[in-house]
Symmetry: C2
Subunit: 205 residues, 2 copies
């Protein structure tokens, strides 16, 4: 048996997950089959199954990867700008540009079509709480730096912020940014944030 290095394993996993993301984004999660993914992965059926036993396992691996990237991204936002509000605006601009990706809608499909699947529900709850704790750090940092004077608990502000941005991402995926008027929705969210964070009198965008 050939010796399989760690780098080789990581490379094959990456290759399969790229194929899976591609298939989920074009066909949707539920209609996607292992065969579809094998076909475009450039690997043998046995080779793929050695790494992942199901499309479910592939989606989970993609979500874990996505969670890690998201957390790193928010950390970088905290470090990047002297003013946290600028980081928030940068994030909101990215929402209005990138929300419309087919993979994000495949992720919604995974959770929404799995609403009678207890395991997926539990995973969603974990993901939801994790997303909150990631963003909570950003708002906390704004308070620490003396920018924000919140009139609601930061946890409440964070949850609302995530609800709205997720809602925009979902609506934009199902419809489109023009119909849902994303840029004005983001202005509404900014209006809320300025009030809730006590910065409505500051000279901010």
């Amino acid at each position: 048996m050939p010796k399989v290095t760690e780098a080789h394993v990581a490379e094959r996993r990456k290759q399969i997950l790229a194929a899976a993301q591609d298939v989920f984004s074009t066909k949707g999660f539920e209609p996607a089959t292992m065969q579809d993914i094998v076909k475009i992965s450039g690997m043998s059926r046995g080779g793929v199954y050695q790494y992942f036993g199901s499309t479910e396992a592939m989606m989970r691996a993609l979500l874990e990867q996505n969670t890690k990237e998201f957390s790193d991204y928010v950390q970088s936002l905290i470090q990047k700008n002297g003013i946290i509000w600028d980081s928030l605006v940068e994030y909101l601009n990215s929402v209005s540009k990138e929300a419309n990706t087919p993979f994000s809608i495949a992720v919604y499909e995974y959770f929404v079509s799995g609403w009678h699947n207890e395991e997926r529900k539990a995973y969603l709850a974990k993901r939801y709480l994790n997303g909150q704790s990631v963003f909570l750090q950003l708002f906390k940092e704004g308070v620490r730096r003396g920018e924000f004077f919140p009139c609601q608990p930061l946890e409440v502000i964070t949850r609302f912020f995530i609800n709205v941005t997720d809602g925009i991402a979902l609506e934009a995926s199902l419809l489109n940014h023009q119909l849902i008027d994303t840029s004005n929705q983001i202005d509404s969210l900014k209006l809320y944030l300025k009030t809730a964070l006590g910065i409505d009198k500051m000279n901010v965008e």
Copy 2:
């Protein structure tokens, strides 16, 4: 052939749609079959097919019914209270109590799992625009009665309002009201509304 009265037709349709709503709410939309619905409808297979040829047609009929009921409900809210803000609060209270129904999640499933189905997408766009025009009337009435002094276009406020309440309903269906902290999310929405509608200095709940 027996003469079929209009009342009889309406009664049969109602009976089938009640069965369909039941099945969609327990099994989910995609897994539901015509056979499931026939079984609990108390009618014969041929009888059911005479009215609806597919679960898709049944879901559309349920959505049409739901659109009508929703529009009537918002109209009643406009008439019911002297103060439009009270109607808004009443609606928001209903969101925090009723969002968690399995049928509403089946509706989300229908649209989200149908994201690569152009017909469903077009129907969703129609539904989205209709929901907006229904709520826009309520906000307009608040301006007409001298309650609201909006600092954003009413269309923008309406869209944001719908995004947030839909987001709460979806999150509550997939997770639960406690985890997503619905009552605080609604307080956040009220904070936004008071600012956007220019009633933050009014003595409102």
